[in-house]
């Protein structure tokens, strides 16, 4: 091994003999990060300049908003409906979220079998993945409203419309879980002469069942929020609709506070369950 040069005290002495040293060598990664940041900053500033085209008093409204937040969180009350009605609204929203998740999970299961590269081939897998990406590009509220024309506003249009994003999300998640499966296991089963469906139900599903359940529950958590929003924006009913009525129709923000607490409580419960499921699966 080559002996390294001895350290001497001149490492701390004046080092003028050396030319100045550049600190940053611009790598592609650095350039891209900086450019992205600058572009985002410029667009944000430009956005702010163009937003306030109605010349409303920004600060006054901001303070009014904070006052509203205070009323909502500290002075909630019941006025146009009772506790049991609010509770029923929450249940309906939960039910919508649940039905959406189940419909989404069933369809996504079959799609993800096609999307998993180790179960089909690259062409089928890629086309399913592209289809799913396009489905996701249409916002959920538009799916619901488009279906409402064919099925009428209500739970049918809401559940079917909301299912699209669940299908898209779960197909991606499920197929990635399937793709994690060891190639050898599938090969071993193929060697025994097992058919495609037998392979799916004897090795793929049991092996990834826990992660499938975890993903599905996480989607249920998301779907609760989506169901609230669809109640408010697309006539799906439930607590979201009641919130819309209190806020936009009756201007009763104290009642909105009550509803907000209901929504918050359910969301936190779902999150706690979801964290526990994730922790158990990781263990």
């Amino acid at each position: 091994m080559k002996a390294s040069p001895k350290l001497t005290n001149d490492v701390f002495a004046a080092t003028d003999r050396l030319p100045p040293i550049k600190l940053k060598k611009l790598t592609k990664s650095n350039i891209v990060i900086r450019t992205t940041m600058i572009v985002l900053a410029v667009l944000t500033v430009y956005g702010f300049v163009t937003f306030n085209n109605q010349k409303l008093n920004f600060w006054q409204n901001l303070f009014a908003t904070f006052a509203n937040f205070r009323t909502i969180f500290f002075q909630p009350h019941f006025n146009h409906f009772t506790f049991s009605q609010a509770f029923e609204g929450v249940l309906i929203t939960l039910a919508l979220g649940l039905l959406t998740t189940i419909v989404g999970a069933v369809v996504a299961f079959f799609l993800s079998l096609l999307a998993a590269e180790n179960l089909t081939n690259k062409t089928i897998s890629n086309s399913v993945k592209t289809l799913v990406a396009i489905i996701r590009a249409v916002p959920t509220v538009l799916w619901v409203l488009i279906f409402a024309i064919a099925a009428g506003l209500g739970s049918v249009a809401a559940v079917i419309g909301m299912s699209f994003h669940s299908i898209s999300y779960l197909t991606k998640a499920y197929s990635e879980s399937f793709e994690e499966l060891d190639e050898g296991v599938i090969e071993a089963l193929k060697a025994t002469g097992a058919g495609w469906w037998q392979i799916v139900f004897q090795s793929i599903v049991p092996n990834s069942l826990t992660s499938l359940i975890s993903w599905t529950f996480m989607r249920f958590e998301v779907n609760f929020g989506v169901a609230v929003a669809m109640g408010a924006a697309a006539g799906a009913g439930g607590i979201g609709y009641e919130m819309f009525m209190s806020g936009v129709f009756y201007f009763d923000i104290r009642e909105m506070g009550t509803i907000t607490y209901f929504i918050l409580a359910i969301a936190i419960i779902l999150e706690i369950i979801s964290i526990q499921i994730k922790a158990r699966i990781r263990a």
Binding site: K28, S29, V32, I33, L40, A41, L43, T44, F48, T50, F51, N52, N53, Q54, L56, N61, T65, N68, F69, I72, L91, I92, L94, A95, L96, L98, I102, V103, A133, I134, A137, V138, T140, V141, L142, L145, I146, F147, I149, A150, A151, V156, A157, I160, G225, V228, A229, A233, M243, F244, G247, F251, I253, M256, I259, T260, I263, L264, A267, I268
Partner: protein, 261 residues
Amino acid sequence: MSQTFFFKKRVRSLVIFCVVALICFASSVMTQFDLSQGIAAIPKAIVWGFSSFYPTADSFVYLSEIWVKMQETLLVSIAAAATAAIFAFVFAVFGSRITKVNGFIAMLSRAFANLSRNIDVSVWSIVLLLTFGQTPITGFFALFIASFGFLTRAFMETIDESGTDPVEALKATGAGYVPTIFQAVVPSSISQIMSWILFMIETNIRAATLVGILTGSGIGYIFDLYYKRMDYHTASLVVIVIVISILLIEQISNYIRRAML
């Protein structure tokens, strides 16, 4: 022996299946959801889609108007994600177990982020609508609050994952708290943070449509306008503009993510 094993397994699966089926049935009854109607709606929707949900030459007249609103929505979505990211980073630094100042502030910043994340964006939009009215600012703040909650949690996890080691080393050199954050935490997590911001922008554009419908601004408003007028040809053009914008942003994001590695 093995027979009882399989039997038990089967019984358990059956019980779980029955419970899920029962909950689904109860949910359907409560929401008056009819699966057969739902299935029937799909071919109906497809037939309707092909017969009337496509842009015609007439609807292209509105394209520039639609594009103006789309631009507004894109800007709102980007501005909300970018400004929320700054606040979220500060809260994440205070909330992460690696960089927290003390337990109380950490708990407080986590609680604040939880509050803004767990209340749906639709709730925030309606509250803001009451004060800011039908303006882009309403949409901006609604998306800002939602982005803030989501990004704080995402950044917190990113900082946690980046590890204590570099922070410990910089502390040991005598570096102060703020320089340690900028010299150790930021470089270690910047690419992941950028990736989350890009994800947030994509999410915001989708959410902006909903917020726009609720608050009467941006691309959501203009869709709602043509939808309620039953001008489905123009409404379909709005959908196409949204889809193209989202797919384009996704492509750009994916490129940036790959280049940042």
